[in-house]
Each structure stands twice: as C-alpha cells, then as structure tokens.
Symmetry: C2
Subunit: 500 residues, 2 copies
C-alpha cells in the first residue's frame, strides 16, 4: 500500500554506507512501518530504496527525512510530496516465525535466513529470534545440513584438485591448541593437503593463529591461501582473514548474552567452515568430562553421530577423538612460549614437551588412517617417522617461508629480552591441581596474546613431585608494570596447588 509524505532534506552526508530515511514514530506506526523496514521512495520518474528509521528530531509529522546522499539521486525540492511503498519484509522473517512456531524449515528458507544475516538485512533482535527458535525443536539432520550448506555458501569457498584434503579441529578448552602446529607439517610432509585455518585467542592467552604469528604472518586473502597450499600442501593461517561462513560470527554475537552454545550450533559452525575449506577427512579432538562442553562419553557419542550424519551429506568422513584434558598440553602459555614448545618438538630438542609430541602424533596418525593414506594401526608410526626424520620440520620451514616468516628460527631465540619472575613452591609435596582459569587470567595480565613474548612457563605438571623453594612457574613480561600487575593478581589466584 502506497502513501505520500513531504520530503525533507537532512544535510548530512552519510558516505553512502547506510541508506536510511527518517520518519516520525507516529507516521511510522500509522503506516505499519518498523525500524529496519525497506521503503521504496518515488519522486517523478526516479526511485530509491532505503531503510526506515524513526526519529523525533529534524523532521515533522507527515515528513520523510532524506540524507544528502539519497537526495542527490532523487533530486526533489524540499517539501515536495513523494510516494512511498513499504517493500515486502524479507521472506526470512516469515521463515524464522515458522521455525519459532515449531515447524521444520526448508533448505531454501534456511538459505534466506542465513543470507539475510550475512547481508545485515536482519537486525540483532531478529537474529536472536532465529537462534532462540533452535530450542523449540531439535534441528532435523536435514535442517542441520541446510544450515551448514547455507553458512558455507554465503561465504568464500575453496576447491582443490586433490582428493586427500584433510583437517583436524580441536573443540574448546586450551588443551591441544598447539598440537595443530605439530600435526599439520607432519601431514603435509606426507603429501596430503591440509588447508588449516585457526582462530585467535578468545578466552585463552593464545590461539593457534596467535602462536603461529610468532613465526610468520597469518593473515591472507583467499588467493594467497590457494597459492601457499598448492605449493606446501598445507598452511597455518588465521581464519578471520578470509570470509568463510561469515554468518557464524554474527550468530555468536547474539548467543553470548545467555552463554548459549547448543551442540547443534557448534556442529554447524565447525562443519560449515570445513565445507567452505573443501575438506574431505576430518578428525575432531573433543575433550569431555566435568568442566568441559561435553559432560559424558554417552553425550559425546551422540554428538559424534550428528557430526558424521552432517559430514556424509557433504562427502566428508568425520571421526571424533575423545580426550580428557585436566591441564595444558606442553609447558609454555602465551604465543612465544607456546611456539617454543612447538619448535622444540619439530626440531626434536631434548627438552621438548613429550605430552605435546604424543598428542600431535596421535592426531596425525588417526588422520592418516581415516583418509586411508595407510591401513589401521600404521598411522602413528608413519607420523613418528615423519617427525623423527626431520621431514616435518622441513615442511614447517617451507610453510613459514611461504607465509613470509624466517624459516631459520631456533626455539631458543624467541624470548630474548623479556623480564621474568619465578614463583616458588611454598611447601613440599605433589602437584595436585592446576587452575586453568587462573593461568588464563595471569597470562593475559602479563600481556598475552597481544605481547607475543608474555606468558607463563610451567616447570611442574600434574602429579610432579616438588620441594619447598623449587621453581613452580616463571612469569614472562615485556614491561615491568605488567609483571608487577601479574604478581599482584597472583595474590588473588593460585595456579599450582601442592598436595601431600
């Protein structure tokens, strides 16, 4: 239904980003317009489309306020009448209502929702209704597949000429983050393709992307990623530099206030990115048990089934590797300290953290078996051979070089010039608990991940014997005030607890 209003010029140049026009609240109500509705505005032979916003300033009742940018297109005279049509609300709104009323939604309805989220045609409140609608009834496998496809297809997609495109993904927690930097060069050195994207730290003191950035740049566009992967068979880059599954970030934003993270959302988020990256074989590293996202192995098995069902629809073989994680893997916390652990493993130094090496070899071995690169039972040995022989390190050097870093880096060069402070044991006994949350907070207080060389080195791990006065951990900082701040914070938190 069309209506007429007097046009009023608003002398602001918005730079063309937001094609917004202003209405008085009562006029908007009268015409059934809510903020965010799209309007078509006609003046003589010219037409513009803009988004309605409500104001109580600048314009009067019966007027429509038009900013300089759109004014130039329409070329009216101030006060003249224009004809306005409310354009149909995005059909995705109807689809969200349908899901909210408990009905299954089709692949094309899902696509309309995701695509409207990505292009900001849906507001935060509308997106919230969509997220909430997922609680009405569990998503059917068909809906999950539709979500994954829509999220992948509304972003950048990668295809590869080779069949053996593999990946590993760690879910949540700090444990295992650094295994990626060991496992990827092992896999790539054996001739498989592993186009790995990682995230930066969200709640931990360093994400894989932050740690890799100690050794080489990690932010590349799609063309650069294709070039690196074609040459080295693998990469270690930051996923945020690409626009794979861009709806995910927006959905995460409205999920935060209630700390909602249903399994389905996690599955969709992970699988959409793997579909976008063209992965065919995928190992998922899933910690379970109290304090993790998955409370029991029974629960875990159900999630594995969902992963496999979705994977099947896209020709992706998925295997979930369950793992209990009580403490960090490796001894360094913070980008450079973690990179040092990784280099020590790849360079096969005597002081390398064995738990990190073990876990990375296990994951690499599983991936080799899942992709039928080798028969069952042989993967671990093949991965070990690639590491021991120096081929994995040579592959890592190639990746570092292609990403623009220094391939001649040595593990012990990474921490030059940092300020340190040791924390000593106040009693003799055995390490009975390691407080991961305190590690995170103190490491962030020390400056990680922004200050690459800041962090914590754990000299003792769970079960280790300690004597009173022995060094339990060392704090690393770049500036004295950060070190002082951390020492102050340490009075509030205990990182390592010693039992009898």
């Amino acid at each position: 239904m069309a209506f007429v209003l007097n046009i009023r010029r608003i002398d602001i140049d918005t730079g063309g980003d937001t094609q917004v026009v202003l209405l008085r609240g009562r006029d908007a109500d009268a015409f059934g317009i809510t903020p965010g509705d799209r309007l078509q505005i006609r003046y003589q032979q010219r037409t513009i489309t803009a988004v309605a916003d409500i104001t109580h300033h600048s314009i009067r009742h019966g007027e429509i306020g038009v900013f300089t940018d759109l004014w130039r297109i329409l070329k009216p005279t101030d006060g003249q009448t224009v004809t306005i049509d409310v354009l149909a609300r995005p059909p995705s709104i109807a689809a969200i209502k349908k899901k909210l009323l408990g009905k299954e939604i089709t692949a094309s309805e899902i696509h309309s929702i995701i695509s409207d989220i990505v292009s900001h045609r849906l507001s935060a409140i509308e997106t919230t209704y969509f997220v909430a609608s997922g609680y009405i009834k569990p998503y059917t496998t068909r809906e999950l597949v539709g979500m994954v496809r829509a999220m992948a297809e509304t972003g950048e997609m990668f295809t590869w000429r080779r069949r053996l495109v593999v990946d590993k993904h760690s879910v949540g927690g700090l444990a295992g983050n650094r295994t990626t930097m060991v496992a990827i060069p092992i896999i790539a050195s054996l001739g498989l393709l592993i186009p790995k994207t990682s995230s930066r730290a969200i709640t931990s003191p360093s994400g894989t992307a932050d740690t890799m950035e100690v050794l080489a740049p990690v932010s590349f566009d799609g063309a650069a990623v294709r070039r690196i992967v074609r040459q080295a068979g693998g990469c270690l880059i930051w996923g945020g530099g690409l626009s794979i599954a861009p709806a995910d970030d927006i959905i995460i934003r409205v999920s935060r206030p209630l700390s909602l993270e249903p399994y389905d959302k996690m599955i969709v988020s992970i699988m959409a990115k793997k579909v976008a990256m063209g992965v065919r074989y995928l190992i998922i590293d899933l910690p379970y048990g109290p304090g993790t996202k998955i409370s029991s192995l029974v629960e875990g098995r159900k999630i594995e089934q969902r992963f496999r069902d979705v994977g099947r629809a896209f020709g992706i073989s998925v295997r979930v590797k369950f793992d209990r994680a009580n403490e960090p893997i490796g001894q360094g916390i913070g980008p450079a300290l973690e990179a040092r652990d990784v280099l020590r493993v790849l360079q096969q130094k005597d002081n390398r953290p064995r738990d990190l090496e073990e876990k990375a070899l296990g994951l690499a071995g599983e991936l080799l078996e899942l992709s039928s690169f080798c028969t069952t039972g042989k993967g671990y040995a093949i991965a070990t051979q690639a590491l021991r022989s120096g081929r994995a390190w040579a592959k890592m050097q190639q990746i570092i070089k292609l990403q623009g870093g220094n391939p001649l880096v040595d593990a012990d060069e990474l921490l030059a010039g940092t300020l340190t402070a040791d924390v000593k044991a106040s009693a003799t006994g055995r390490v009975s608990a390691i407080n991961n949350r305190a590690i995170d907070e103190i490491a962030r207080t020390l400056g990680a991940p922004d200050q690459k060389r800041a962090g914590i080195y754990l000299h003792k791990k769970l079960g280790d014997r300690v004597k009173r006065g022995q060094t339990l951990l060392t704090l690393y900082a770049v500036t004295a005030d950060r070190l002082a701040l951390a020492r102050q914070a340490l009075r509030l938190h205990t990182i390592i607890t010693i039992g009898r």
Copy 2:
C-alpha cells in the same frame, strides 16, 4: 574471581545516567565479561558498581576506562591498579534459559525476569530470548498468573475501598474505541467505580485517550487519578501517564520486528493492567473473524477460558463479549470528530450515531449484570435509563471538570475553523465495502491524531444507498497542505466502495 587492571580516566561527564566503564574486547573476553555485565571496581577503601562496555578506542589493553562521574567517586590517580569483580549475572538470565530449555518457571523466577526488564538490567537481546521462550511450550495457567502478578507488582498499584470496581476493555481494531466514553459515565452515574485508563492511537487515527483529550486533559499521576475517581466514581485518562505494568511496553518493543502477538501475551498485558488498577469485574470486547486478531469463535472461546482462569486467581470476574466488526462504530474518525459523536450521544442529539449508542449501552448493561449490580436481563434497560435521563451526561460533565476541561462544551463547537473537502459518489448503488486501513491512512495524512480537528466524517455506512454525486465523506484538516496531501493519497486508495 577478581582481577586487576590499570585505571584510565575518560574525560567525559556522562551526567551520571549510565554508569558505564570501558574495557578492551580482548580483556573482556579473557575475563569472560560481555557488554552489560556488572562490575564492582575497588580502589583502596572505595567501591563503585558499573556496567561493562567494550571499546577499541581511548584505552589500551590491560586498562579500564572510567568516566569523570565515577572517577570522582573512586578518586584514583591515572594508571593506578584497581581490583575488579564481575558481579553475578542477574538470576533472571538463568530463568530465561530454563524456560528456553522447555521447563516451567516459578513465580519468583518470573518475578526476577520482569523486574529486571523493568529496571533495564536485561538487554533487548535478553528480553527477546524471554519473549521467544514463550514459544517453546504454552505457558501454564500458573505461569500466566505469575506473569500477570509480576507485571502488575513491578509498577504502580491502585486499591479502592469499594467492592464494585468494574472496567471494560476493547481488544484491537478501531471498532468500539469510542464506546468507552459513553459507557464509563453511564456506569459511574449508577454508583459503580470505573477507573478507566486508555491508550493513545498506535495504528488508528485516534485512541480513546486522544479523543478524550479534546474535552479535557488526560495525563495525570497516581495521586490525581485517586482523587478524581474518589470524587466522580470514574475517570477517562491516558494509561501512559501512570506507570502501571511498565514491563509491557518494553516487551512490545522487542515483539514488533516479527509482529508477534500471541494470545498469551495479550492476556497478560490486559490482565496485568486491570490487576494494577484494582478492577474486580471486567467485560472484554473482542472482535473476531477474518482480518481480526481472533480468527474464529472456537478460538475466541479458548481465549475467554484463559482470561477467566487468570482472572479467578486475582478475584476478577471476566466476561468476553464477542463481536464482528466490519466498519467503524460511529461516523467521525479523528479525535474531535469522534468526540463530537460521543457528545451527540451523551447529549442525546437527534443526529447522534445510533450504532455507537447501541454498542455502548450493550457493554454497560453487561457490566451491570456481571457485577451483580442488577439481575440478568435488566442491565440494558438500566443503562438506557441513565443515558436518556441525562444522568450519564451530568456524570461526564463532572469527570470533564475534575480533569480540567470545560463541562459546558457542546457537540457542534468542536470543529470551528477547519478546512473541509467533500468526496462524492461516482456512481449510484449501495455501499458494499469500507476500507478501514485506507480510513486510517488518510485520516493520519490529514493530521490525526496530533491535529485534533483533523479527520474524516463518513456520511454513508455499509449497506446505505447512495446516488451518483452524493457526498460520501468529508475530509477535515487544519492546514491546506494536509488537505492537498490527503487528496493526493485518495487517488491511491478507495475508502468507500459502491456496489450495484
């Protein structure tokens, strides 16, 4: 868990309205803080509480930005360390999650949600999750009662010494809005108490409050309302001037984008306000049929049952009066034109609109019977007698006077000085359709409800015979440009359709 940050002064005086402090996104993530979380900030012996917000400007990693207002309370020196505790998230968040996961929530959980909505402790996104959670499972009667109680109790409440406190409420549509102004003085003139609050126009050209405002002010605080009702036994005021059930407006705001209006929300919204006003007997005027909120009488009966169940919990007798509405009641559209219709009925003029009189007498009669003021079958006659005898008009004069208006007003004084334009019939025949939506739009274009004397007068109603060239309707405006605008809009819309 506490943590420490360096305090940084932000030289802006916010006027004390928003007690916000700023954190860098990565610090907030590290400490598990989301925007809107409440923080307690300690410096020496002093403590402030503030809401966290995220910024990428003004402060650095490891800093907390504090505006001048809070800075004055804390009295730190720039760069010193402060200790920060994240205060527990409102328990209402957990209650919303519980409802979203399909569980029934208790009265005290409902109270915590509503009270946090009212005090803006819940964000728009969190409130959206609450609204969406209503779709997981229908509210139980116990939950509905809890909602009504919480919404009433978080706002202003009225209690009256008399038992016969009655009310009528019209649901949606423009039909019946003006019956209120006829029925209230009839009821009050018979000695019952009817503390009537009305709304202003949302989508129509005039709400009862807008129409009453032609005759007297309508915006009063609680004390004034108590005084008026004690003296006159009734009032005709704008509900928005009081703060009864204030959560309702906030919930409506987040419901709009999806145009969600489930019956339960409507029941809660109406009943909360009646509980707050201390009403004991309530007639609900409910239009049904295609194009209204209630599609069938069967549906309507279910809603009636819900209304009665909720009413019972508060000692309110509820009766629903079903009605089909195809066209406006009365002939005037717009505040003054509607007020003229009302005065013509109350002053018993010959040219009074009989449909308005009939409907108002019917509603008043039902209310008299429901409250046992009289026996069944006698209400209509008693109401008619109050109107014919002039007692209802005398009561209306008292209400107008107590609200500060002119009790000597005559129906025909209200439209002096307006510009008019007649719309003539282009054919001979019978009125076969009246387009209510077009009436709304044209009347708003003419300036209603802001311009009280603007509007439309319908000379013909459904089924009336018309001859070519006869006046179908008259447009009223205060300024020439509005009249011109409406004539232009009339080219796009037909208000009265003439069939053969």
